[in-house]
Symmetry: C2
Subunit: 343 residues, 2 copies
């Protein structure tokens, strides 16, 4: 979510001055509130600085550290309890709200974008999502023409395949033009913590856009990626095959065939059943029906604001009337206050 | 110094006394630490009370409320900033660690189980998970004999179908013995917040254990559940078809065919691609190949400690040597301190 923001100041010392005082922030709208992850995103302004410039602020409660719960540490939760509110006491179960005095426990990670562009605000706004049941006919009539017309440049992919970029990041490679691939870290991965490992296998073949283009002739390619990818990960990171999730996205974020690898313990974005397809299932499907992906109905998810969703909506494939004004429903914004932007 | 205890029970006043002082807790082990959800589970003891009794404590940072970020409130994050640490300032991006003085922002939900049984501790221990690639042969040889032998009683399901239990909870019903079903709230749902809606459709047919038993003859049943379920949810909860995730689990938690319904916005447990199968995909598969689920390789996830995993492991299907002592790897316990239990 915050990939373009580097959050640890290991770089050179800051000489820039902080141009705003957070105490002067004036809220316009809560863009999203994730009550599981304990993050909230708000937009507003610093009226003392400008009436027009928008500020986007992301607040996130900090995770617990070992020191926070160690009972040997003077900074621990237990040593620093002040008020304890008792909610419930029933047999062996007790529930409390505790307020520690130690700062380290109360830290809130605060990310500020100022001035923020409408693009920043759109990125952090919770957008409703819709499931589209794409039959083979709808793929041919709607999705394929759209993605042919609006395809982003794949130069960055070709740069990796041709060793013009990210050469030092390559985890493993098989140069075979038919069955070969390059295995590289996904940008989401910090390259360090093995528990959040996230790699992409990108095929050398350039004519396979997505799952939809696969047929039985690609089984050797898929099995090669499977076996070689597993072997490389086992050797380099010590993670066994049985601990790996290996899958495709549909729709993918770019239309050059690629396969995601991460440990089951990594609850990576986009691994839900409406978006991801296990490589093993894909191989099994192609072994059963050689043109399975020419015949299958594939569901996928589209977000409000995506052009493809609008095209499907115009075709009448998305059921139900939307609130035309903002395209949102209560379901997606349980905790969001709907305030007008000052702008 | 002892901590001040305030009782905020909305229920009848507690007459039970809190038998422990959290300040005296002594940590033995961190059982799990979820850095996304900001929860940590620890086990230890209260040595002043007993050397033998174990205490299980779950700490969870609180989610943000509207009041926490409203700039009109005196209790807001912005009004109560004390220390602000600057991590980074780069162009329009700033990253800080802030420490609010307001208690409401610093609350930590604390759940105590004391004395805790080994079962409590097992429940909250992070258990490694493994993916098993179940071929049709392995299903027949391993999974089917296991689940036939160890099947839990389905009486609670039959009680619902026969209106002996949960009658008032039924959302919709079709009594047809072949294609009928009962739609009821899942126990995970509080029955209130539409954004976390979670319903189960349970078939009146009693001889379908799971996905594996489905064939083309069941397409009318599946389509009936799809259409009638969508209609009932739209009428009762106002959620459109295009906002719904409708799916099976494999392996299911009980072996009587049932289908899960929840809104896409609900990131419900178990919706990952290694566990869940969209109903639309299942229908498409059966329309393509009438005995698809007799021929398919179906991957599923098993947890350390599950008997089925041990059986597969003895068959040599789970790759890679495990650390036999505790069956855990680094991947699943990135932040867990491995301490021996005092006991």
């Amino acid at each position: 979510m915050t990939s373009e923001i580097v959050t640890t100041g290991i770089s050179e010392p800051d000489t820039q001055k902080i141009p705003y005082d957070l105490k002067n922030f004036k809220l316009s709208k809560i863009l999203s509130n994730n009550t599981s992850r304990k993050t909230v995103v708000v937009v507003g302004s610093f009226p003392d600085l400008s009436e027009d410039d928008l500020a986007l602020i992301i607040l996130e409660k900090s995770a617990f550290t070992e020191e926070n719960v160690s009972t040997d540490s003077k900074k621990s939760f237990f040593a620093n309890l002040t008020t304890v509110e008792n909610d419930l006491l029933n047999n062996i179960y007790g529930s409390f709200r505790c307020f520690p005095s130690e700062n380290d426990l109360n830290g809130i990670k605060t990310t500020v974008v100022y001035p923020a562009t409408p693009k920043h605000i759109q990125k952090y706004s919770m957008r409703p999502k819709f499931i589209i049941r794409e039959t083979p006919e709808l793929y041919e009539e709607v999705t394929l023409p759209f993605l042919t017309k609006s395809q982003f440049s794949l130069d960055w992919v070709y740069n990796i395949l041709e060793h013009k970029q990210e050469l030092e990041r390559i985890v493993s490679e098989d140069p075979d033009p038919a069955n070969g691939f390059v295995l590289v870290p996904d940008l989401k991965w910090d390259g360090k913590a093995v528990e959040t490992l996230y790699l992409l296998a990108i095929t050398h073949q350039r004519n396979i856009k997505s799952l939809r283009d696969l047929n039985a002739s690609h089984i050797p390619l898929l099995k090669n990626i499977r076996e070689s990818g597993i072997k490389a990960i086992q050797e380099k990171y010590g993670i066994e095959e049985s601990r790996l999730r290996i899958y495709f996205h549909y729709q993918p974020s770019f239309y050059h065939l690629h396969i995601h690898f991460n440990p089951l313990s990594n609850e990576a974005p986009g691994i839900f059943c409406e978006k991801s397809h296990l490589l093993d299932t894909v191989i099994s499907n192609l072994e059963m029906v050689s043109d399975y992906y020419k015949k299958a109905t594939l569901s996928f998810v589209a977000y409000e604001g995506q052009e493809l969703l609008d095209i499907y909506r115009k075709k009448g494939v998305i059921s139900g009337p939307l609130n035309e004004k903002n395209g949102k429903s209560e379901v997606d914004e349980p905790n969001a206050k709907k305030l007008k932007l000052d702008k």
